[in-house]
């Protein structure tokens, strides 16, 4: 091994070690870990104990080949165990022996409890193993007072000193300076977490003062902090609901902590982090069962900033949280006759319903409207809005003459589909004798269920659609929305990935353009090489490849380490979860094609994170200061087929609003060829672009496809196609490669 290689291995190990420390604060950033590591050195023996325990657990993980998913939790619990034993009593061989046994126990409990809690309800193990292990092994030697710290005692106002000490307790360093380091680490990781730490502590402290004003209280403060951060920051999305839940978690940790202290103090034990774990698991589990109202993401814990971004993208791209996505149940353009909370029948438990009919020139019929066949909607095919099993069908109710209703057989002829997730989708008022679906049959979205009719409580032919909880007809409805649709506007159609249409809105399904869908397929192992340049400078190469992660996520990974996840559903190509170091070219690609419908869409909107927007450091600092949870762009996309070049030209305007009334604009362009996919990408800042305009025209970045390749697989050789004639692609852009 050469010296540089060993240096690299050493650096990698150090990074892993430090990111292990940072994962106590739910991040993986080595810098955050370094601050925490430094904080542990307020009590050198504790620091040494922690390191020893980490080493032991690493050996154990390796020896028993523990699965990857458990190792992080093992690291955290071992670290905390080691720190605690070091802090309390690493003074003799016995102590060292206790450390070894406790670490072994913590590792084992972690490995045992992690899958168990996950199966119990996707619950995390947190630092529960650490508390259990210490309760088991600490009494070997009666608890000693914590060893004296390295740092001098400080004179601070009592609440502040308590707060900082509590922060220090997270790393078993009960000293204000260590606490300050931890606070700095928190602020570096996530300012929302830091804010939750402050407010969680305040809430817990206040409750504690009310409940046990006189009692001699063991160190509990860090439990309030951790509970608030975990519940409100890592598992709940940032927002008022999450914040209140965090405060409740902190408050809940108080009585649990007091109770545990009462039970454990005769044994000479502390509650350690058990109050935090108990409060957190209780709230997460309850919140999960609540199902709605609180946005909890148990399967994908993340920093609040990432939550905010995902939530925003989800709201824009996937529809309201908790709402059931459905495909448009008809073909062509229809109008919403009655929306949610409609004036006629969509009220009370049936408030979540949509009625559709067809209106032309203000009329839903041609001719005189006296016959059902005069009505535009009558007899038109009604499609299944979701895949599922047809659990109930009725097809014997006669159609009412126009203007009359049959309130006795309210739903008329209907089809009830049990879709994924156990929800039931009801389509009603079918034409008598038209239903093609049979009970017990499995349908997929888009299958013809029958014809639109006028049976039941229906004065004129229309489709009624709702989602209900149970199987019984007319059981309470749930909110839902439609996906992949075109909304008709006076000046054209707007494509929406998800939308809940309002009364009077005209809409129709979007239809996949198979040519476009094929052009943008990115199979795993695809290598895209672009030539890039800025402001007309020299061309440089930039390369990225598509990979599939172990969990099955497809990502576009640039050579420099930056990457973003993407999905190609057949009807949309969407990028999200940008990760890794700065990479302006990946950012440019994500802005230009971040949300690309594979339908014949001409106009649509998106709201990508502002961190993709190239800005000056001063602006970046301003945004960092004013938008702790990240800012978002208003992006408006347009696309048209362009002859004679034979490409789709997808242009977008991205607006960043650093402050009310102050807008910064960026334009992007993507040329999509039916043969080469993304052949040209460009971005241009306007006159108000924060960049220094190199020329009078403003700042500009361009990427053009140089080659497309595919990585080798066993038995399948790699291939690579170079774009021979760069002029071909250059010709696709306007003169001098300028975007217009």
């Amino acid at each position: 091994m050469t010296r540089s290689e060993s240096l690299r291995v050493l650096t990698a190990r150090a990074r892993t070690f430090l990111s292990g420390y940072s994962s106590v604060l739910f991040t993986e950033r080595p810098a955050v870990g370094a601050l925490c590591f430094a904080a542990t050195w307020a009590f050198p023996r504790a620091a040494l104990g922690g390191m020893a325990a980490v080493a032991v657990s690493a050996l154990l993980s390796h020896a028993f080949a523990l699965p990857e998913g458990v190792r992080r939790a093992v690291f955290v619990n071992a670290l905390l165990t080691g720190l605690t034993l070091g802090l309390f009593q690493l003074s003799s061989w016995l102590g060292l022996f206790a450390l070894l046994l406790a670490t072994l126990t913590a590792t084992w409990i972690t490995a045992a409890l992690t899958p168990l809690l996950w199966r119990l309800g996707e619950l995390p193990v947190l630092s529960l193993p650490f508390s259990l292990a210490l309760w088991l092994w600490l009494p070997i030697q009666p608890a000693a007072v914590p060893a004296a710290g390295l740092l001098p005692l400080m004179v601070l106002p009592q609440p502040l000193a308590d707060f900082l000490k509590s922060l220090g307790w997270i790393f078993l360093s009960p000293h204000p300076l260590a606490g300050a380091l931890v606070l700095a680490a928190l602020a570096l990781a996530s300012r929302w977490l830091a804010w939750l730490a402050v407010s969680g502590f305040a809430a817990g402290y206040a409750v504690l003062a009310l409940w046990a004003p006189l009692a001699e209280v063991p160190p509990l403060g860090f439990n309030f902090i951790l509970a608030a951060m975990t519940v409100g920051g890592i598992y709940a999305a940032p927002g008022l609901g999450g914040f209140l839940l965090a405060l409740f978690a902190a408050a809940l940790a108080v009585p649990i902590g007091l109770l545990l202290s009462f039970w454990l103090s005769p044994l000479g034990l502390y509650p350690f982090s058990a109050p935090f774990v108990a409060a957190t698991l209780l709230l997460l589990s309850g919140g999960r069962l609540a199902g709605r109202g609180i946005y909890l993401s148990l399967a994908y814990p993340a920093l609040p900033e990432r939550h905010a971004e995902a939530l925003r993208l989800e709201a824009v791209r996937l529809g309201p949280h908790g709402s059931v996505p459905l495909a448009v149940p008809f073909l062509g353009e229809w109008q919403v006759y009655q929306g949610f909370d409609g004036e006629h029948t969509h009220r009370g438990p049936w408030r979540h319903g949509l009625d559709f009919f067809i209106v032309e020139e203000g009329r839903s019929f041609g001719g005189e409207g006296r016959l059902l066949t005069d009505y535009h909607a009558f007899g038109l095919p009604v499609l299944a809005p979701a895949a599922g099993e047809v659990v109930a069908v009725r097809d014997g109710v006669a159609d009412n003459p126009p203007g009359e209703v049959n309130a006795r057989e309210n739903w008329g002829n209907y089809v009830l589909i049990r879709a994924a997730g156990g929800v039931h989708v009801l389509l009603a008022h079918f034409r008598h004798g038209s239903i093609a679906a049979t009970q017990g049959a499995w349908v997929k979205a888009g299958d013809v269920l029958g014809g639109c009719g006028n049976s039941g409580r229906s004065p004129q032919p229309h489709i009624h659609l709702h989602v209900q909880e149970g199987r019984a007809l007319g059981s309470p409805t749930r909110p839902f929305h439609l996906v992949n649709l075109m909304q008709r506007e006076p000046e054209g159609s707007l494509w929406w990935p998800a939308r809940r249409p309002a009364q009077g809105e005209r809409l129709g399904p979007a239809h996949t353009d198979s040519g476009l869908a094929r052009a943008l397929v990115l199979p795993a192992g695809r290598r895209l090489c672009f030539e890039t340049r800025e402001n007309g400078g020299p061309w440089r190469y930039w390369e990225a490849e598509t990979v599939i992660t172990l969990t099955g996520q497809t990502r576009l990974a640039a050579v420099g380490g930056a990457s973003a996840a993407f999905v190609h559903t057949g009807s949309v190509l969407a990028f999200f979860d940008r990760d890794g170091p700065a990479d302006p070219w990946l950012d440019l690609l994500l802005l230009a094609v971040g949300l690309t419908p594979l339908a014949d869409a001409r106009q649509w909107r998106d709201s990508p994170p502002a961190r993709l927007f190239p800005v000056k450091p001063a602006m970046r600092a301003w945004l960092w200061l004013t938008r702790p949870l990240g800012a978002f762009l208003d992006s408006c996309y347009q696309r048209a087929w362009q002859e004679p070049q034979g490409v789709w030209r997808q242009s977008a305007v991205h607006l960043l609003t650093p402050a009310p009334g102050w807008r910064v604009r960026l334009e992007t362009l993507a040329l999509i060829s039916p043969h080469g996919g993304l052949v040209h990408l460009a971005a241009r800042g306007g006159a108000d672009c924060p960049f220094d305009p190199a020329q009078g025209r403003g700042w500009q970045r361009e990427m053009r496809l140089a080659s497309v390749g595919q990585n080798a697989d066993e038995g399948i050789p790699a291939w690579k196609v170079t774009v021979h004639n760069i002029d071909d692609i250059a010709r696709l852009t306007d003169n001098r490669g300028e975007i217009s």
């Binding site: 008809f330 073909l331 062509g332 353009e333 229809w334 067809i358 032309e360 020139e361 041609g366 535009h376 007899g379 038109l380 095919p381 888009g446 013809v448 129709g508 399904p509 239809h511 996949t512 198979s514 040519g515 014949d600 087929w641 002859e643 004679p644 034979g646």
Partner: protein, 466 residues
């Protein structure tokens, strides 16, 4: 000396059936008049623009276009409606339909040029027809038009064009086959039953320069039985599966042509159009049900459902166009029928050769209707607008309105001894616009060139006056 006194001329006695009021077939139709078109009085139009006059209603045109589009779009996911230029290529008519989202379907180099001149991009033109000159093929290929091949020779020409362009050109092939319900139009395209069509498909698929992406058929014109289209769709979808399996190509669209009937009365057909002609919805239901059935398992096999292309002409434009004409003279025919000479004949209403167009007077009739022959102004025996129609007594200058008259007349009309008149459009927002100005001598002779020696009609000094 006989005193001249006003005496009636002798008229041979005849027996006439009573045609007014009710008879055993129901109410008489002759009480119908067309005093106004879209609210504009017919008499006022003639006063402003002269007689005869073609009148188009923008509102009606758009309504027809939307109704047809909706009928299919609400039954099939992806539909492309194309406007059949030959039916009526007046720029105002074409652009009204293009604004409604219709592509252009052209069948000649002239029509192609006209569509391009109107601003239709090449990739929104469907190029059909048995004769496409090389230059037109080259232009259409370069501009991205969808070309439908009619013969092997055309295939070879286009392959050469594509080779020179250096791209794999997407093309379709025109098929002919027997639906069992229509007369096969076997002169167009490749015959399916004989295996010619599959050979052509294989030939296209094996070419490095061509890519087979579509199948085209046009089973005929004025087809009043929607089942014929259902049969055509079944044949096309089955052939699509065969072609895809045998050549590995992906058929992206099926073009079922045009031929939907309009509310017009074909000569020799007994039932009135109101009873005979299906609605757009009936056509759509037949076509789309057959398509749904024929492509049911396509998505499961990983193939997208094909785009449906329609090339409707007559059904969209026919009743949006009227021809107003004036009575020039009355006469009594030897067989006792009344004859009326009009100022518009088959030179303008060319389709009168095949159709009994509905014709109505523009004012309330007075008097008992009788069987009447309507003649045009031409000095030819064949210039008959209606062989037999019940008309009340008409006087010179009375106006008659022929409707539907929008299909084929403005493309097939003749400049034979008469000028072609004004064509106006009643605009949707109100007002009337001339969309084709009446011809005059300068227009008709504009293309003529007189050789110097023939520049004068009579030679000097050679006056042969007796």
């Amino acid at each position: 000396m006989k005193q001249s006194s006003p005496r009636k001329t002798w008229v041979a006695p005849s027996i006439r059936s009573h045609n007014s009021g009710l008879n055993k077939f129901g109410a008489a139709r002759h009480h119908l008049v067309t005093e106004a078109i879209e609210g504009t009085p017919v008499a006022e139009l003639i006063a402003r623009f002269g007689s005869p006059l073609f009148v188009f209603s923008e509102k009606r045109l758009r309504e027809n276009a939307r109704r047809l589009k909706r009928a299919f779009a609400t039954r099939w996911p992806r539909v492309i409606n194309a406007w059949s230029y030959k039916t009526n290529y007046l720029g105002a008519v074409c652009n009204t339909l293009h604004q409604e989202g219709y592509w252009a379907e052209v069948v000649s180099a002239f029509e192609y040029e006209k569509a391009r001149a109107l601003g239709v991009p090449g990739n929104r033109i469907i190029f059909n027809g048995p004769y496409k000159p090389l230059a037109a093929l080259e232009r259409a290929a370069a501009e991205g038009a969808r070309i439908h091949l009619d013969s092997l020779d055309e295939l070879y020409s286009l392959e050469e064009v594509a080779r020179r362009l250096g791209k794999a050109l997407p093309v379709g092939i025109r098929l002919n086959f027997d639906t069992g319900l229509t007369d096969p139009w076997s002169r167009f395209g490749f015959n399916l039953e004989s295996g010619q069509a599959l050979d052509a498909a294989r030939r296209v698929a094996s070419s490095p320069h061509l890519k087979l992406t579509g199948l085209h058929s046009h089973i005929g014109t004025f087809i009043t039985d929607p089942r014929a289209y259902a049969a055509a769709v079944r044949i096309l979808t089955a052939f699509m599966d065969t072609v895809e399996t045998q050549t590995g190509t992906l058929i992206e669209y099926l073009d079922i042509g045009g031929g939907f009937a309009s509310r017009n009365a074909l000569q020799g057909v007994y039932l009135p159009p109101e009873q005979l002609v299906p609605s757009p919805e009936q056509y759509a239901e037949a076509v789309c049900d057959a398509l749904m059935a024929g492509t049911r398992d396509r998505e499961a096999r990983g193939f997208p459902r094909p785009v449906l292309v329609l090339e409707t002409g007559r059904a969209v434009v026919d009743d949006a166009g009227s021809l107003i004409t004036s009575v020039a003279s009355n006469k009594r025919l030897p067989d006792g029928r009344r004859g009326v000479v009009l100022d518009a004949g088959v030179n303008l209403l060319f389709t009168a050769f095949w159709y009994n167009h509905d014709v109505r007077p523009a004012r309330r009739p007075e008097g008992i209707p009788e069987e009447t022959v309507l003649y045009g102004p031409l000095c030819m025996n064949i210039d008959v607008m209606r062989q037999s129609v019940q008309m009340p007594p008409l006087v010179v200058g009375d106006l008659l309105v022929f409707n539907p008259a929008g299909a084929y007349n403005n493309s097939q009309w003749l400049q034979f001894i008469e000028y072609r008149p004004n064509v106006v459009m009643l605009m949707e927002g109100g007002g009337v616009e001339v969309v084709r100005v009446r011809e005059d001598l300068a227009v008709v002779t504009a293309q003529e060139r007189l050789p110097e020696r023939l520049s004068r009609p009579f030679s000097e000094g050679c006056d042969d006056a007796v």
